[in-house]
Every structure is written in C-alpha cells, then in structure tokens.
Symmetry: C2
Subunit: 207 residues, 2 copies
Amino acid sequence: MAGARVDGRVARGNQTRRLVLGRTMDIASVEGLDGLSIGRVATELGLSKSGVFALFGSKEEMQLATIRAARAVYARRVVHPAEEVPPGVGRVRELCASYLAYSRGRTFRGGCFFTAVAAEFSARDGAVRDAVAAARAEWIGCVRGVIQEARDLGELRADVDVPQLAFELAALLEMANADSVLHRDDGGYGRAARAIDERLAAATPGG
Amino acid sequence: MAGARVDGRVARGNQTRRLVLGRTMDIASVEGLDGLSIGRVATELGLSKSGVFALFGSKEEMQLATIRAARAVYARRVVHPAEEVPPGVGRVRELCASYLAYSRGRTFRGGCFFTAVAAEFSARDGAVRDAVAAARAEWIGCVRGVIQEARDLGELRADVDVPQLAFELAALLEMANADSVLHRDDGGYGRAARAIDERLAAATPGG
C-alpha cells in the first residue's frame, strides 16, 4: 500500500513535470530561456510555486530540463522520420524536409526551439549555454552523418566535402525558419527546399 | 552666454548618450535586448539612474535607440564598404566579405547584433520586434539590391532569381556567424566564403 501511494505520487510528479515542460518549451521558443521563471510558470499553470520548485530545484535546472525535453521533441519530429528512410540521398532529403515541416508546423510556438535559444545564449558562458551548444553540435553531427552515409553508398560523389555540404544545408534550413518567424514570410521554405535540391543534385555522381 | 550653456549641456548629453549606446549595443549583442535595464546600464557606467532615464525615458526607448545605433554601425561596417566598390559582382562579393569581417572581428562583443536580437524578439509583438524586423528586412533588401545591380549590368545571368540568391547568401553569412559565436568555431567563415564563391560562379554568364 505504501508502495502504491509512492507510485501514485511519482506518477503525478511525472505528469506535472511533463505539463510544466510543455509550457516552458513554448515560452522559451518565443521569449527565450531567460523568460522562464518558476513563479511565472506556476502562475500560468495554476500550480503552487513550491510545487514547481520541488520539481526542478532552481531556474537553471528548469532551463536545462527544458532543453532536454526539446531535444527529445526535435529527435522525434526531425531526426526519427529520416531514420525510417533507408540511408542515402533519400535520407538526407527526408531530414531536411522534416526540419522544414517541424519549423513550418510550429511544433514550438516560436518556431525552431534551438534557433531561438542558440542566439540568446551563444555569447554567454555556463551550463545552459553548454547544453544549447551540445544540442546544436548534435544536430550538425546528424546532418553530417546522413551526408556521409550517402557518400559512402556512392549516392553522393566521393569528392563531396561533408562538413561543407552540411554547413550549407543547415544554413538554408535555419534561414527559412528565421524568415518565417521574424518576417512571417513563408517563402523561405520553398527557397530552402529549392536550394537544397540544387546542392544535392550538384553533389550527385554525374550531377 | 545662456546659449553657450545650453549648447554645453546638449553636447554633454550627446556624449553621454553615445557612451550609453556603446554599452547597450555590446550588452544586447551578448545577452539580448531584454538584458538592458536603465539601472544596470547606469551602474555599469557609473552614471545616475535618473540621468540615464532622462536620456531615454523608458526601457523600450533605450532598446529602440540601441537598435538605431546598431543599424548605423552595421551600415558603416558592412554596407558602406560595398558601396565604395563599383556596382556588379565585385560589390556583391565585397558586401559578403564585409559582413564576414564584421562578424569575425566582433564589432559587437556577441557577434552580429541583428542575429542576436532577431531570434530574441522574432516571435513576439511590439515596437522592438518591428524595429528588429525592419532592420533585417533592410539588410535583405540591400543584398537583393546589389545582386539586382549585378544582373542588370549583365555580370550575373538574366535568369538569376534575385530573392533566391539573396536568401542563399544571407543564410551562409548568418550560419558562419552562428558557428563562430556558439561553437567558437571559425571554420564557418571559410565555408561561407567558399559557398558564396560557388553560388556567384554558377550565376555568372557562362558559369
């Protein structure tokens, strides 16, 4: 019985944590991670400040938990759909298309979570910056990885510079997100898709 | 004499204003425009809070004045050097090179001022967001303008899609800035320069 009560408390705690992190991800995507405060989140969700505090212990821990939760969402929406496609150029295309759909569909209210918080923290120091940098490095590593696979399979030319092509594709994706969020101009999604097609065509054997 | 005293006060006021805006541009480039508060700026510069308040009247006015000052710096460092080169592909190249030098040389402590604050305010509403969006729109307009000139002169192919090419060049420039500021990896400057060369070569008649 004591075990069941503890399990019930843990389940409620986990549920509250998910509720809180859903809100903190949306706030951070619009206003940045600095916009998060335990008091504000508690008020918005009708929870007690002490209850939210007990879940995280500090504002910084809440920021870090928000980044981890956003990484999981990003993996599910952008990375996993590409992993369901066989390795090769098709997977590179799918990864780019998933990112554009993730940004355009406003998975997070303020567009791409990581673009929003990267600029906010990039020039600072500390654990939050390091977590943001690690998440972005993981993303760039993912883009490089799918390009490398495609090259290893002979679907991209052997002389393709993998970090260079990854840099160019990631730049186009982020620019489409920025145009849409800042200028409310969705034309960038088509421009990015067209430029990515051209880059991949040029990197294809005989292309 | 009364006129001279007033002139002296105005001159001192302008000097203080420049001092304050120099600091607020650096703070905003690292921590964003939300990092600005009249009290903080006064403390950091050893000025009275009421004196700084008298210069701007509100935090929002200080943010807007900071954006205007940063636009002037950006024009001087990025746009004007390109205007000193004759219209054509050379001016497009110079504009891109000036941006990369402006970012790499940390004209602002946190890298490109507008990239830093665009992500911060892009998903919000209000006068600060509008000013940031106007500054970025002006920049994209400038990139399109120099490409259009080059096309009109026949130095770029007649079928070059001007907004498309401007989107691609601006994306590469911003990505180089982001890599340098967030990952402290300056490799993006070379990657951006290489990709820009390739895009312009492909857009050149016979290219």
